[in-house]
């Protein structure tokens, strides 16, 4: 790799060096404030390195591991920005929950670096390495509250299922390698772009899809999500919902966005339809907001998958637009819950999360959560509606009737449980709770920014949408 190509990976370098810096800091002096500061600085610089890319344009064709192309850099930027939001929102979260806080930030930076590598890679080897770095860091992050049995349980579940599905992914990659002799994504795409790919290729793709669907918590590979979201600390649930999904969607777009065979399209469509319907149906019975949001994330990934299943020129833009609105909304929703858990830790009980009385005790958080829930439900004048509308556009244009019907039905179901959660915040509180935590001003301002962006993007989406379409083409 030439010097220029190394420089293109500057954001990943910054994240790695940031993790090393925190490791060194921990050796000398334990201080959560310092670790946070280094983490935030690393993430900000990484984001700047994405906005102002170094090392010239993408590298040459054959034998490359990474490509800093438009799609890759966009997803890298999205991943780093989401991670930055997660890092900001966990201010004060660990204070009453865990003794040792510094390693959290090391793992966070490493997980982001892994996800970033997944977004930029055009070869299965660095992709898999990035996937494993992300997964292993997440094992530690999910289990971070060592005294909490649920966290450890969630981490074990995630470990086992991630390992199994990663094995499926590798097996599928091996089958494709056997067929094509290459691990580059371009060669793999060529293998199933033909009209009738052979059984080996189809089996390979199927097994790889198992691994990918697990990460995206698509139905029927979704059963880990509610338990893991519930057991993990809230900032990590946010991370799962945003960074993890964005990294995997990047691979899906690289592999399946072009001309692919009908069978593969049908499988992706099936995954999408099952997720849209199953995710929403399963969320109906949930009362715990974290579990509900876990199931709903399956449904939202189903919506994001519809343009990929339909194909056509606008598919990449549509999926990415949906993902961006989903990431913003998730950050707002989970961020509000995190800020609430920081202020009143007694709300987060063993099997639930008490949101009653939020309107009177924390009107600002209630407002942010309300906007986020309305956006998740796809209400007009929110960003979530615009994302859903764009996906619907692609679906109707491609005459994918079943997918469109599933989208419509799923949206109605979704409206019910999001509304129900919103109503809960207006109910009077059962008891007055002790306000223990600090008022995290940085986190609250970020929440304000997110809520404002959700509304602005809902009313005036033109500029952002046109800019996205221009960047990705």
């Amino acid at each position: 790799m030439s010097w220029g190509e190394y420089l293109q990976l500057t954001p990943i370098w910054i994240l790695n060096f940031g993790a090393i810096a925190v490791m060194l800091q921990v050796t000398f002096r334990r201080s959560e404030t310092l670790a946070r500061a280094i983490t935030l600085a690393a993430l900000v610089f990484a984001l700047l390195a994405v906005i102002f890319p170094q090392g010239g344009t993408a590298g040459s064709a054959a034998g490359r591991l990474f490509a800093a192309d438009a799609t890759g850099m966009f997803y890298l930027g999205l991943i780093v920005a989401a991670s930055l939001a997660v890092a900001i929102s966990c201010q004060g979260y660990l204070r009453h929950r865990e003794e040792v806080k510094d390693e959290f930030y090391i793992l966070l930076l490493l997980a982001t670096a892994g996800a970033g590598a997944m977004a930029l890679s055009v070869h299965l080897l660095p992709f898999y390495l990035g996937l494993e770095i992300l997964s292993v860091s997440l094992y530690g992050l999910v289990a971070y509250e060592r005294e909490n049995v649920r966290s450890t349980e969630a981490a074990i579940k995630y470990l086992l299922m991630a390992a199994v599905t990663a094995a499926f992914f590798l097996f599928g990659a091996a089958l494709l390698y056997a067929q094509t002799g290459s691990l580059e994504l371009a060669a793999l795409t060529a293998a199933f772009a033909v009209a009738k790919p052979g059984p080996v290729v189809l089996a390979g793709i199927g097994m790889m899809l198992v691994g990918m669907a697990f990460k995206l918590s698509l139905v029927p590979f979704h059963s880990w999500a509610p338990d893991v979201y519930e057991g993990a600390p809230l900032p990590i649930a946010t991370f799962f919902s945003t960074v993890s999904k964005a990294a995997m969607i990047a691979l899906l777009l690289r592999l399946f966005a072009g001309d692919i065979s009908e069978e593969v399209r049908a499988v992706i469509a099936l995954l999408a339809i099952l997720s849209m319907l199953g995710g929403n149906l399963l969320a109906l019975r949930q009362t715990h907001p974290k579990r509900m949001l876990a199931y709903s994330s399956s449904a939202h990934m189903g919506y994001a998958l519809v343009p990929i299943a339909v194909g056509g020129p606008g598919a990449v833009v549509a999926s990415t637009a949906y993902l961006v609105t989903y990431v913003l909304t998730s950050l707002a929703a989970f961020g509000a819950l995190t800020a609430l858990a920081v202020r009143e830790p007694s709300r987060e009980t063993e099997g639930g999360f008490d949101l009653r009385g939020l309107r009177t005790s924390h009107p600002w958080l209630c407002f942010v959560l309300g906007v986020a829930l309305l956006s998740l439900a796809g209400m007009p004048f929110t960003a979530g509606f615009i994302g859903k509308f764009v996906v619907l556009n692609v679906g109707v244009r491609g005459a994918a009737l079943v997918s469109v019907a599933a989208l419509a039905i799923g949206s109605v179901l979704g409206a019910y449980y999001y509304l129900r959660l919103l109503i809960e915040t207006f109910q009077p509180a059962e008891e007055t709770r002790p306000v223990v935590g600090e008022r995290a001003w940085l986190s609250w301002s970020l929440l304000g920014l997110l809520a404002a962006s959700l509304i602005v993007l809902g009313v005036f989406p033109q500029r952002a949408f046109a800019a996205l379409a221009a960047w990705l083409s």
Partner: protein
Amino acid sequence: MTLPILFLLPVLAGTLLVLFGKRLSASTAAQLAVGALAADLALALAVFWPDQPLDLRVSWIPSLGASFHLYADGLAKILVLLTLALGLLSASLAGREIDRRPGTYQGLLLMTAGAIVAGFLSADLFLFFLCFEAMLLPASALLIGWGRGDGRAAALRFFLYTQAGGLALMVAIVAVFFAHGAATGIYTFDYLVLLQNPLAGPSAFWIMLGFAAAFAIKLPLFPFHGWQPRTYQAAPASLAILLAGAMAKTGAFGLLRFAIPLFPEAARTIAPWMMGLGIAGMIYGALAAYGAADLRRLLAYSSMSHLGLLVAGAYSLRDLGYQGAALQMLAHGLSVAGLFLIAQLLEEHAGTSDFASFGGLWQGAPRLGALAICFAMATLGLPGSANFAGEILLLFGVYGAWPALAAVAVLAPVVSALYSLRLTQRIFLGPREGGGLARDIAGWRLLAGSLLVGALIWLGFQPNAVLRAVPAPAAWSGPPAHAAATLPPPSALGGQPVSGLAVTLQGEENKK
């Protein structure tokens, strides 16, 4: 131009009230809301006075083909004025009715009214859809926060039913976008552009069903009315006025504006079904209203009954049917508002509008009784009221399309009389039951009621004032073509107001 102000003013005023008006007293909040709506109504009257339609188009989301296009023709103007007037009445009533967080209540009421006005003014399918959905949110919030009885369940039902229709509408408008684009090469959501090339063929039929489903649920049309009785019972009277008087008209407006003109061939195919459902709903609603045990349920079913006839007349695809629908929307809005005003007074006194709690109120409250009789007579379609004028035009429309159904439709005043007279008799006449009212209707509520009665009577004798403004569009010129597209004004015929109808009937007989 001033068109956006007509809905921005209530929406912004409402938002300010919701954000900052938590601690306002009921009277201050009512004064602010009434002031905002009165200013808006005055502005609307001033802007709408000249006879030509108003048009405003601003580019909004070109990537999606959506523009910010407002268009105020006669129908839209009438409905906007109706919404603002009813909003004014609601806000004043809420000042009396709501004692818990009145500032927030008035703010949400203003936002609902603003969203409804925006819906009536939209001439872009995307914008219309956004307003159609957006008006649900403040209305649901009002139901949840201030609902009588189980507001939460009623609100969820209302929201989900309407949302289901809304999703069908969303898919349908995207389908129209692509179908129109494939046929003409122009990809847009703009209503006036889409109107020039209406869609035809089997796909157009399914798309039209999406539109019709959404509006059928909104109206509601039998049998999609599952959300209505509970919602009308749970809503505070001021909200119920806005729901029954204005929001239900959004459904009718959608049919008249979008579902029929954009798909004339599909509309002709489905017309017999819709007319049948409309008349069935009319009979069913009237019978259910007759069997109702309290005034709110009666009003819910009576509303369904009237709007059923309206849909039948609209789908007759005759010009008289269209004009009857327009007039009936106005008349029904006014009369149902009057009845909810009465209901609010009764509830204020007795806490319930159950028929069992009232009886013989006329003795103690003659003015209230007089008003109630007037509204009841209007509801049953007594000649001289605007409702009669609307109904007779609708019946002419139905007769022109399906004479056998018109024989059933003619039962409209009969079945309406069942429950209207029952309502009057149970509450105001007969032996005194449950104690009388503390005092008779007085003050501004008496004034509001009298104004409503006055409007109904005036429109009953001078319907041309409204009909002149709503000439039937091309989709309603079903065979045989009538000699007169509108009723000629009385002055043109030398002071014989009935001759217009005679001319039309003769024209029909000549063509047979």
